[in-house]
């Protein structure tokens, strides 16, 4: 019945993208070794990138791989190895009684609520955007052009603020992670004295 409505390649793409995403996500929360968690996270990002590409968001699919799988996960791996916390965590210990069942219950309620909301909303017939006049979002080069036009016109101020945000984040990270220079100088003085 599914194959009669949608073409087989579409279904295959959807199934492989979802499998990558969900298996990777379960890996992140179930693996004991943080390095394995980070590798599962990469798997999820590839699934998300596939889902982006199949929905005409080609630029974001590329950025997903470059920024998330390329930069953010490498940063995670760098910190894991820098701190030497790549030993396994015992995931069977439950420090708070009833934490896991309660967490599972809350998550099930949230997801069920989200899906129920989707099922009851008539969003499929919702009004198309006035900005693009309901023109289908384009793929390939046209997608980059369209997104660029949108970011540099409609969302220009937000874009400028992200520039400031990135600078502040870099300065903050440097301040947080550098060693205390003053105490180091004092140590040296003590050694000399």
């Amino acid at each position: 019945m599914i194959a009669a409505t949608y073409t087989i390649p579409d279904v295959l793409i959807f199934v492989s993208a979802s499998a990558l995403m969900l298996v990777g996500a379960v890996g992140v929360i179930a693996m004991k070794n943080p390095v394995h968690c980070a590798l599962s996270l990469i798997m999820t990002f590839f699934g998300v990138a596939l889902a982006f590409a199949v929905q005409q968001a080609h630029f974001l699919a590329a950025v997903e791989i470059i920024v998330y799988a390329g930069a953010i996960v490498v940063l995670f791996l760098f910190v894991i190895m820098f701190l030497g916390v790549d030993r396994s965590e015992d995931v069977n210990v439950e420090p708070i009684v009833g934490q896991r069942p309660l967490a599972a219950l809350g998550v099930v309620i949230t997801v069920a609520g989200l899906i129920a909301m989707l099922a009851h909303a008539r969003w499929v017939t919702g009004a198309h955007s006035a900005t693009t006049g309901g023109v289908p979002t384009k793929g390939g080069n046209a997608n980059i052009k369209e997104l660029g036009t949108s970011v540099f016109t409609t969302y220009l101020y937000a874009f400028e603020i992200t520039a400031a945000l990135l600078i502040i984040a870099v300065v903050g990270a440097v301040l947080l992670s550098r060693r205390d220079r003053l105490s180091r100088a004092e140590e040296l003085q003590e050694e000399n004295a």
Partner: protein, 101 residues
């Protein structure tokens, strides 16, 4: 005929749920950050799906900004994890039970 948007929306909801469960149950601050990335990606997927379904590029622009904020968040968050690790020699959030540094 392309894939129906609702399929991807359901996957996005499941991905969000898995990420939320991870944040609630794992104790290593690093893994909690990874689970937050999972939740952000679930929302990104939903944004792109709606952008495709409602034919509005605004959804993709929102994902663009989420990417930037996620990068900034991870940079600062991992900086905090590194400085906490220097002091406590652990990344477990259970040990951070007092405000005093």
């Amino acid at each position: 005929m392309s894939i129906p948007a609702s399929w991807f929306l359901v996957v996005g909801a499941l991905l969000f749920g898995i990420g939320a469960y991870g944040v609630l149950t794992r104790r290593s601050a690093l893994i909690m950050f990874m689970c937050i990335e999972l939740m952000l990606n679930a929302v990104n997927l939903t944004f792109v799906t709606y952008a495709h379904a409602l034919r509005d590029i605004g959804g993709q622009a929102a994902v663009f900004f989420v990417l930037v904020v996620a990068a900034a968040e991870v940079t600062v968050g991992l900086g905090i994890v590194v400085s906490v690790f220097r002091r406590r020699n652990s990344t477990s959030v259970d040990e951070l039970s007092e405000m005093k540094g």
